[in-house]
Symmetry: C2
Subunit: 328 residues, 2 copies
DNA sequence: GGCGATAGTGTAAACGATTACATAATTATT
DNA sequence: AATAATTATGTAATCGTTTACACTATCGCC
């Protein structure tokens, strides 16, 4: 490995001078700079980031910790974060916790140990920012899932309003017996449930059912199957994320029920397939690009000014009405 | 930050002893060990991985560099790699190149600089392992896309055979005017094209069309639209990855053609939605779990024994016949 | 009881960068 | 022309570990 010493020797200067040329943070005689640069090029030298990071106690990397890498919502966020970070010369290390608090802690510690400049993070339910070692030590931006803390930056969707709008859309289209399937892994499901119930109440309706379940296709499928094969079956299923939407949609199909005539299915996140199935699915589209970009910007702001007062940005979802909720 | 020095002082020993206790790599008097461990616990000490990594020139991390994080195939691989690595006490840093050679180089360099133990990697077309600085310096396992080198480990699908089987399936079901849409970003598309053409030839048929295009939904859609709206339109579209499948499927729908009666659509990778659309899509399912796991194991083997002779593991795809190719 | 092996520990030199401090050379200021 | 300020560079300490080397104490063996 060629180190800064080799470059210094080749250029006939000290390591300090080489470092200064490379960091551009001190006056250097043009002629010297040139000699150093030539040596760098000749030796194909690249500074060792580990050593630098050890010395300056920071790095040009940010962490992105998501709870499920297979959820298209998070991969879309990942792309947006990466693009925004790339523009600032930062790299993104992406970690997947699989909703597992142990992995969450592992990766948060790892990133902290890596001296990342900061972390963008969708916490699991159990996460308690105050009890953690990394509290205050590493800039955070929370996305997607609110946590109870008013000293941290967050980028969230207005889940209550979005769920309200989606529910009202169902009611307006003539559905009266609504059932809700909500993810139990985060606050997101709870908030969407609130919007769901509020809309029903405002329209003097009662929900047929409301279940908090694990946000996986299989769970959504099983729960929806039960609902659809009971005597008083719902005429619309509201789901709080795309995994549950897929499960519920499959259940409707397997129950030989017509969508949207027998039962409507609506959900969150505009996935590839949501527009391709027949009928296509009515969803609330989340502004993933904007969420990722905003989170990255907030993070950079906090990195630069750690004491800045925390900000919560709340974005709006967009209702995309399609065939799956067209009415009976 | 509490360092090993603080622990040493608290335990009344030298830093060397602390290090030895923690690394478990030298005889230590039980009583001393206990004192050190107590000090570690009291001070809530965690070793600084950066410093360790600088000293020993390696780390318990592996890199996973994929070309498109939104492709479900790669996220599935990601999960498998992560699980396998986790079992060995390794963490996974996932990077997304977006088929961009610049990003590819950036991330490969970054990971190298991070002293990762090794990298699992789906290279872009342009990648030339021999011209790179990191050649020989960092253990590699190539996945999904063959590169021309016989001194590197690879885990691949038998693409020719899989494509052959998928094509033959179409022919057996009575389709005769086949068109192929292949991704142009990697060798995978080329190999699948070979299988496609070979099957046609063996059955004395000529392809109606064969296009190499960018592996994106939009490109697949446009190309398929053109094909389906020309006089001599194909009665079956073969696609080489799930992005193109989605595009082609959408094109068939928008052209008001009946699948599978007017046109069949088949592809690779069993995605969530492939089974949910109507008709569901016939695909070659790739053993993602096994690909990820095998790649991780090969990587660990190479890390342990760098001079081991390189191995290429070729896995088989599984044909899942569904409605989209049922015949006319 | 003498001697070689092994257990148990400490000292100090790495790893490869950055940077506080010192110093020499140049330029500006009066 | 003397002094102050600035430019340009070098020396060496530092970040937090691991580990080669040195050393002493203990043990087993003949």
């Amino acid at each position: 490995m060629t180190s800064i010493k080799d470059v210094a020797k080749a250029a006939g200067v000290s390591t300090a001078t080489v470092s200064r040329v490379l960091a551009n943070n001190a006056p250097i005689k043009p002629e010297t700079r040139e000699r150093v640069l030539k040596a760098v090029a000749d030796l194909n030298y690249r500074p060792n980031l580990i050593a630098r990071s050890l010395r300056v106690q920071k790095s040009a990397k940010i962490g992105l910790v998501v709870s499920d890498i297979r959820n298209p919502f998070f991969t879309a966020i990942g792309r947006a974060v990466e693009d925004a970070a790339y523009e600032q010369g930062y790299s993104v290390l992406m970690c997947n916790t699989d909703e597992d608090p142990d992995k969450e802690e592992l990766y948060l510690n790892l990133l902290y140990d890596e001296n990342v400049a900061g972390v963008i993070f969708s916490p699991t339910h159990q996460f308690d920012i105050h009890s953690q070692t990394y509290n205050k030590k590493m800039p955070f931006v929370i996305i997607d899932r609110a946590i109870e803390s008013n000293d941290v930056d967050m980028v969230l969707l207005d889940n209550v309003a979005a769920a309200y709008e989606l529910t009202e859309h169902l009611i307006r289209n003539g559905y009266k017996k609504l059932a809700g399937l909500f993810g139990d892994a985060s606050t997101t499901g709870q908030e969407r449930s609130r919007g769901f119930h509020k809309a029903l109440k405002d329209h003097h309706l009662n929900p047929v059912a409301a279940h908090f379940i694990s946000p996986r296709i299989q769970q959504g499928y099983e729960t929806a199957m039960n609902l659809l094969n009971q005597p008083n079956r719902p005429d619309a299923i509201f789901t709080s994320n795309s995994m549950l939407t897929a499960g519920a949609y499959k259940a409707a199909r397997d129950s030989k029920l017509k969508v949207p005539a027998d039962v409507a299915v609506v959900g969150f996140d505009d996935t590839t397939w949501g527009a391709l199935v027949d009928p296509p699915i009515t969803v609330i589209e989340q502004p993933t690009e904007e969420i990722g970009r905003t989170a990255t910007e907030l993070l950079f702001q906090r990195i630069q000014e750690p004491s800045r007062s925390p900000k919560t940005v709340i974005l709006k979802g967009l209702l995309i009405a399609r065939g799956s909720s067209k009415g009976k």
